[in-house]
């Protein structure tokens, strides 16, 4: 009977949308040249609360997601002709990412299955990026990507944490928010960037502080606070849909046939953390990589270890697609410092960093790291030729 409840909610939302058209202050612009405006709505009916997406640029609000118990997170295409949203047909039914033309036609499901996809955004090259469950932890979520027909599913972010609020930057990278769910830094929020193939995960430059709680500005999105009285159908936000340039398609060196990537660090002591920078030169013998574990988010089994050279550099081969935390090991085998936020490499990725939690506003010094003067551990691997 869930479809009945879903239908009831949809009918209720349609009525709410009609009612919204006559509310004071609501513009009634019928100009055909006006950009399309999508309106996110919530409403309540006998079946419970649901959500919908409508058109708000006409003389009222016209419901577009009729037949969905919930429809949310609209994200417009680059040409402004259609949009993505997360839809659920009935309470308890699986959610899926859909695309729909702005005139309400052409409904098509993109994702299917038992996941909980959400927050879809369109990527260049006819692909989408969205969030879904991360299997490493209860409540964990990660970023994924797939083609517009649902094929080519690719996981982009890794670890037992909750990733969300993805958006594309003008340079083609994805910016997202990571909430640490476990470990000593549980509850902390980080702003990270990643390439659309999951490589080069990196904190946003600036102080490595918690994320500012203000909403990120988005040229295409105008989020309005709820303007209606408690209990009435509510408009949750508006999305002005206008054609906009697609971000560049960043090329990828990921080779899914490989199982490892490498991490090159130029100087472990080059750190914005005073405790690390204060470690005397030569006191760090090696660096150990351990998987960031599932349950409590602590560092679990060792997945790699590499010597730290006199200049502080190291080169380590790491298992791909695994969030690892690094521990600095002293001459006597003691653990000098551990970094729990972690990093991952994708298959075939060569990742570079200046130091352990270095100043993100700095470029590296132009010195050949000593770690490259010894034979790289992956020397036997056949690399693709440029």
């Amino acid at each position: 009977m869930s479809w009945l409840r879903g239908g009831a909610v949809a009918v209720g939302l349609a009525a709410a949308a009609s009612a919204l058209a006559f509310l004071p202050g609501e513009p009634a612009d019928v100009s055909t040249s006006r950009p399309v405006t999508l309106v996110s709505l919530t409403g309540t009916s006998a079946g419970g609360s649901g959500s919908a997406i409508g058109r708000g640029d006409g003389p009222g609000i016209r419901l577009l997601t009729d037949g969905f118990w919930s429809a949310e997170s609209p994200s417009a295409s680059f040409d402004g002709r259609w949009f993505l949203f997360t839809g659920r047909r009935a309470p308890g039914s699986p959610a899926a990412i859909h695309r729909l033309n702005v005139d309400g036609s052409g409904l098509r499901a993109i994702t299917a299955g038992a996941g909980e996809p959400g927050e879809p955004i369109l990527a260049s090259g006819d692909r989408i990026v969205f969030t879904d469950r991360a299997p490493e932890a209860d409540g964990g979520r990660a970023l994924y990507a797939c083609a517009l027909d649902g094929s080519g599913l690719l996981r982009l972010t890794f670890g037992p944490h909750r990733d969300g609020s993805p958006r594309f930057l003008d340079d083609g990278r994805i910016r997202f928010e990571r909430t640490l769910l476990a470990g000593p830094l549980a509850g902390r929020r980080l702003m990270l960037t990643v390439h659309p193939d999951g490589t080069n995960v990196s904190p946003v430059p600036g102080p490595e502080a918690d994320r500012d709680d203000e909403a990120e500005p988005d040229a295409a999105r105008v989020v309005a606070a709820s303007r209606l009285a408690e209990g009435a159908p509510r408009e949750m936000g508006r999305l002005t849909v206008t054609p906009r340039p697609a971000p560049p398609v960043l090329t990828s060196i990921v080779n899914e046939q490989r199982r490892t990537g490498t991490l090159l660090c130029l100087n472990v002591r080059d750190s914005a953390l005073p405790s690390v920078a204060a470690i005397p030169p030569g006191a760090i013998a090696s660096v150990r990589a351990r998987r960031v574990g599932g349950g409590n988010g602590d560092l679990a089994e060792v997945v790699g270890e590499a010597p730290v050279h006199a200049d502080g550099s190291f080169l380590m081969e790491l298992p791909a697609d695994t969030l690892v935390g690094l521990t600095l090991i002293g001459d006597d085998g003691s653990e000098l410092a551990s970094f729990h936020t972690g990093v991952w490499v994708r298959p075939n990725e060569n990742r570079g960093c200046i130091g352990c939690h270095e100043d993100r506003g700095r470029a590296p010094a132009n010195r050949r790291p000593m770690a490259l003067l010894s034979r790289p551990p992956s020397a036997g691997v056949v690399y693709e030729r440029r």
Binding site: P205, T251, D359, R386
Partner: protein
């Protein structure tokens, strides 16, 4: 079988044959394109590569528009007239600053580069890069009234020490030229008449590798000359270009002072090269120089956060010699190819043009000085912030969008306007220095139509296709040449297979490309793998890839200054030619075919376009055979060998071919090797 059926059968057979032929042709074409581009799914447009890719479309060839390519600009002392070098047409354009239109054009030779005005504005001095002279222009009559011979390929020019200081780019030296004697300039030559030489060269000094820009102080007692490239240092040392300072304020000796000789100081700009623009700050003992800090010692495994290169501004305190470096980029946004710098008369603002990003950066010099004072107070070195990109927020006031490939900058005498030579738009931008907004565009009168070559030139000079716009093709190939650095690309392992950068001049007909000879064409060289391992962003669209290939193939090498105009060789060069082509050693023993110079370096281009093992591989190389480079203008291609470890031509044999792995030379002795090199310089 009836006649009708036979005809039908014949027709069907013909159709089948045609279809089979068409299918085969398409199959071959797909393979052909894949072979030369390295990718599948490319366009099968034959004309794109075989016509447009070799010099432009048919329309381009018929119309042959001549672009102006304004490179430098000077403003008359009263601010009323602008003088712009039109490097594409060989003119010095005269622009009415008030009317904002071109009022005249003075033919000043083959390829005018930089222009300097006499203090009273009566004369303009223009370097002619191809003709090795400075042209003297009488601004009143708008005529060339004299010429001053210089060293090889003069570029930057400045007035100082009672004469003219000229940076001789290909000579790696600078000339101090005396002006014509007396107050009156030489009489103007009539049209078509050769302009007589006037003035003499007072002295010539070594001035780093590829001297480029020059600036003179207001009092005329100092001059600075930048070098574009760092001296070849081998793959294990970071580059450090030089600034050469000429100081007439206190000559090193009485005799020197009497002869008008300056004291010479060299400032090493650590970890930097591509010093393209320089200016003295009015009213202060400061000079500003643009620079690029490459990261060639690191594997090129990412672009973000300046892992390939960053741009910077050097601040030289002329009294103390302290040279500070400050970044011009931001942590996630880069402004490629800092090209020129200018300062306002009050010394409070400076401007830097970024040729790769079509932007001019406005810099608050007071804020920069305050930051450097903080460094000094904290006892930190002057270049301590050179890599701290976030520091730029302290002193960058604005990023001002301008036309394509901005190069020369000049501030008006009253400090209110900044003029920008927008080289690839054939325009002059006018910027209000108070509001830091673009006021106007002066159309210099270039062709409206964009040819394939011009599009390719724009692609080459733009950083738009690179992640975060960090660098352009030109960033590694300044002046279409080379940067003299070695790089470690990640595709073949970190820290392995270092490769020396190679010149693009004269590249046509020398395929394959890359030291491993695996790129069969420029389409492959500049294609998807270029994006995957270098620019990290979208590959060039096919039309831009074709245009870029066309542009690269159009790049002609400069006139070889070591070769006489009539082709005659000196005695040493003749002896060297005999050595190059010899088949027997000095002791009369035969030289095996594979050990003769002319075997691997045959013909006019000096390459058999094959890979050979010349013993240059190190333990870090994955292979031992490397592409044979062409020898055209090899004299200006240092460093040498696939990983750039030979700093000079001599070192190829004296250091890196001890067992005659690179041809038989051990029997030659010093004099024989000198002769061989003398000959090689003529190629």
């Amino acid at each position: 079988m009836s006649a009708g059926r036979r005809r039908a059968a014949r027709l069907a057979a013909v159709i089948l044959c045609v279809a089979a032929a068409a299918g085969s042709a398409r199959w071959w074409a797909v393979g052909h394109v894949a072979h030369f581009t390295g990718t599948t799914g490319q366009s099968l447009d034959c004309m794109a590569c075989h016509v447009a890719g070799h010099g432009g479309t048919i329309t381009d060839r018929l119309t042959r528009p001549r672009y102006l390519s304004p490179l430098d600009v000077a403003v008359s002392p009263d601010g009323a007239t602008l003088y712009v070098t039109s490097s594409g047409t060989g003119d010095l354009l005269v622009v009415d600053a008030a009317a904002r239109r071109v009022s005249g054009a003075i033919a000043v030779g083959d390829r005018p580069y930089f222009v300097a005005l006499s203090p009273d504005g009566a004369a303009a001095y223009v370097t002619d890069h191809d003709a090795d002279v400075v042209r003297i222009v009488d601004t009143a009559s708008k005529k060339v009234i004299g010429r001053l011979p210089t060293g090889f390929a003069p570029a930057g020019i400045a007035l100082a020490g009672g004469g003219i200081v000229v940076a001789n780019a290909l000579g790696s030296d600078l000339s101090v030229l005396d002006l014509p004697p007396g107050d009156a300039p030489p009489a103007a030559a009539s049209p078509g008449e050769a302009v007589p030489a006037a003035g003499v060269e007072r002295v010539r000094f070594a001035a780093g590798n590829y001297p480029f820009a020059a600036a003179g102080s207001r009092d005329g007692r100092r001059a600075l000359v930048t070098s574009l490239l760092a001296p070849p240092a081998g793959p294990e040392r970071p580059p450090a270009a030089e600034l050469t300072e000429l100081d007439w304020s206190g000559a090193s000796s009485a005799a020197g002072e009497a002869a008008g000789l300056p004291r010479v100081r060299r400032h090493v700009v650590s970890d930097a090269h591509l010093l393209e623009g320089i200016t003295f700050v009015p009213g202060r003992s400061e000079a500003l120089v643009t620079l690029v800090r490459p990261r060639n010692m690191l594997p090129a495994l990412q672009v973000e956060r300046g892992w390939m290169m960053t741009g910077g501004l050097g601040i030289l305190l002329t009294e103390t010699g302290e040279l500070a470096q400050l970044p011009l980029d931001e942590p996630e946004m880069f402004y490629a190819d800092p090209s020129d710098v200018a300062a306002t008369p009050d010394g409070r603002l400076a401007f830097v043009s970024h040729g790769g990003s079509d932007v001019v950066t406005a810099i608050d010099l007071e804020a920069a000085r305050a930051l450097l004072d903080e460094l000094r107070a904290a006892g930190r070195p002057a270049d301590d912030l050179a890599d701290t990109l976030s520091a730029s927020s302290r002193y960058v006031r604005a990023r001002i969008p301008v036309g394509a490939n901005p190069r020369g900058l000049e501030v008006s005498p009253d400090g209110r306007l900044l003029y920008v030579a927008e080289r690839l738009d054939d325009t002059l931008g006018v910027i209000d220095t108070a509001t830091l907004r673009r006021l106007a565009t002066i159309d210099l009168g270039g062709p409206r139509r964009q040819t394939t070559l011009r599009l390719g030139e724009k692609v080459f000079h733009s950083a738009r296709a690179t992640l975060q716009q960090q660098f352009s093709c030109r960033s590694c190939h300044p002046e279409n040449h080379l940067d003299g650095l070695q790089y470690d690309f990640e595709g073949d392992g970190l820290g392995r297979n270092l490769v020396d950068n190679r010149s693009l001049l004269g590249i046509r007909g020398t395929a394959p490309f890359k030291w491993n000879g695996r790129n069969t064409s420029l389409y492959m060289q500049c294609g998807i793998r270029f994006a995957r391992f270098l620019t990290r962003s979208e590959p060039f669209p096919f039309n831009e890839q074709v245009a870029l290939a066309a542009y690269l193939q159009s790049l002609e090498p400069p006139r070889n200054r070591h070769r006489a105009a009539d082709g005659a060789l000196t005695e040493a060069q003749r002896r060297g030619r005999e050595i190059f082509h010899r088949a027997v050693r000095t002791d009369g023993k035969a030289i095996e075919l594979q050990n003769r110079c002319s075997t691997c370096h045959p013909g006019a281009r000096g390459t058999d376009r094959q890979r050979h093992d010349v013993g240059s591989a190190s333990a870090w190389d994955g292979e031992t055979k490397f592409d044979t480079p062409h020898l055209e203008n090899i004299w200006m291609g240092a460093p040498y060998l696939h990983d750039g470890k030979a700093r000079t031509l001599e070192e190829i044999w004296t250091v890196y071919s001890p067992g005659d792995e690179h041809g038989i030379t051990s029997d030659l002795g010093k004099n024989g090797l000198n002769d061989l090199i003398e000959y090689l310089r003529t190629l």
